[in-house]
Symmetry: C2
Amino acid sequence: MKTIYTLALSAFLLAGCAQKASQDAAPAGPMSATTNILGISYPKVNPDLSVTVRVDAPTADSVTLDLMKKYPMTKNADGVWEATTEPQVVGFHYYFIDVDGAYVSDPSSELFFGCGVMASGVEIPEEGADYSQEQAVPRGEMRTQTYYSDITQEWRRCFVYTPPGYDDGDTRYPVLYLQHGGGEDETSWGVQGRTDIIMDNLIAGKQAVPMIVVMDRGYAVDPTAKPTPDRRFANFNTFERVVTQELVPLIDSEYRTLADRDHRAISGLSMGGFQATSIGFGHTDMFAYIAGFSGVSPVREEEWNTAYNGLFADPAAFSQKIKLLYLSLGTEEASRFKMVTEFHDRLTKAGINHVYYESPGTAHEWLTWRRSLHGFAQLLFK
Amino acid sequence: MKTIYTLALSAFLLAGCAQKASQDAAPAGPMSATTNILGISYPKVNPDLSVTVRVDAPTADSVTLDLMKKYPMTKNADGVWEATTEPQVVGFHYYFIDVDGAYVSDPSSELFFGCGVMASGVEIPEEGADYSQEQAVPRGEMRTQTYYSDITQEWRRCFVYTPPGYDDGDTRYPVLYLQHGGGEDETSWGVQGRTDIIMDNLIAGKQAVPMIVVMDRGYAVDPTAKPTPDRRFANFNTFERVVTQELVPLIDSEYRTLADRDHRAISGLSMGGFQATSIGFGHTDMFAYIAGFSGVSPVREEEWNTAYNGLFADPAAFSQKIKLLYLSLGTEEASRFKMVTEFHDRLTKAGINHVYYESPGTAHEWLTWRRSLHGFAQLLFK
């Protein structure tokens, strides 16, 4: 059959395509980024954690790499532009290419919905980060749940992680609701965040109890309300209604959940951290575990005793209601996200029980959030 | 809470991003392509089905749109390049932008793994194609199944569609294996192909029996075998071993399947059509329903009576073994994929029972394949 296979292969190769990007397709070397399209060798991560990016743009006048900062690229004899960045902090970084003013993604990279577009990303491997690497352990599933929202009057989609063995019995599970950041979407925790891999490893190691994780789309527009300037960012109040009136009931009806506050957690990153904490603080009847990763719904000094029906006024009463409040931040983003540290300080000053985690050496990026999920998940439902 | 929401919104907007593509983000008009990033108004599909694309590239010398053919773009006063194509055939078209020799995807488009990269795509709506539109019907799930392959010695992922109600009972279901084309991957049938929507609608209308659909990655490399030039296209023989020795047993153990040949179908598009038919013809003990959409494993005249252990030598015996052989092709691709029509003619000449479907007005593209799935699925397991 070999001849036929070869014949057919050439006949069908890239069927339906105009042509493919003419990027170096040499076999990937050991340092090629794991975020590259399979078989593409650049970007490469160098031993000092700098990144070398190549872009094929023979007739361009100016090409710039935008990876945390802008790097002018230089053209070699083959018309391939190249730049090497400063050493990067470990983790996942979005990046873009500016070709004569066209701000585009790198055809060599798998793309990730972030920054409001499909963005290039490069993974700078974390030394010994087995917790987010695929291991030889039982694997759960990531499922899409499509539902019609009467509030937004549209079909919505969320992803639902079910733990290994979910289909094998009648066990009921607690649920963690996990929200993405601004410019990302319901796919982000599963792809950039490696939620299923992190949970599979934690559950296999008995570090976390088996749980369902729900990742919804953090944007919601009520068509009967006044339109917002950018539909993608929509309206947080509408999203709060979707979560509390539609999403939670849907998950409790479609999955074998433990449908009470003591078995429900809500968390998110950045914008999602704001959403998760404000929804959690406002609905302690629904959620007993609340977390904000690199983001939190700030409560000002002057409203400390009144906000959220006085939730923060009495530390003892707070601890009765909230089994765990978890806040986290990367050390490299601390200056930019003072609201998290300030809130942490206020909680401490007010004697309100909470966990505060600082991710060493990471920025407002996915490694901060993978580590936060890894830490938070171990404290849940115990 | 409104003030706080607004504050936080600005604080978290596009958190972690260098900047976002400076594309027109006016509210989407009625003709904005459904494949655009939400809130981005271009590309626009015009009433005559031509497509207008805009690219922001102020300092570029030359920008070309590549949508089925190349269209030079012209720059307006704002430095935005624009081109309008000829009227397009309905369906889903991949496209790219060439900016001074950089062959990239359009930041305004959701991207789809095709052509070996993350490609821009534009959907030209099909008049009254309700079968592939979300309807108010019970929805199934798309699940990821991650498995370790001893043959390829790597973790692999497939998508598994489970029909509505799968979790509500002990029913066992037949299984359709469905393969993507060259340059695409295991995500393609779920995204570009709308498999879950098509199946949900068919099952709700009682046009198809409830079934499980498995979409695996069509590339497999045996690391103990001689490396192939491009790892993405790998080796069909290795893929055949993965499907028959690992994937089918995995699905039968992880899902409530009817685990016999009479309840197993295998099909695919283009390269996947070649793979599906060659695997199906070679393993009639495993598959009773076989289809190739815009692709088939060709059997030459001279080997007609010997190929696949003489499967085609005896029409009566063939019909005993193969409950359905289904071939399809788009009328706009017929000249390019003669192998399908030639095989159809040979089958007819040899008196071998099969179904041949021609998709009117569609090319080697996803509308041909959505229609083919829609037609094929209705003939299965009855």
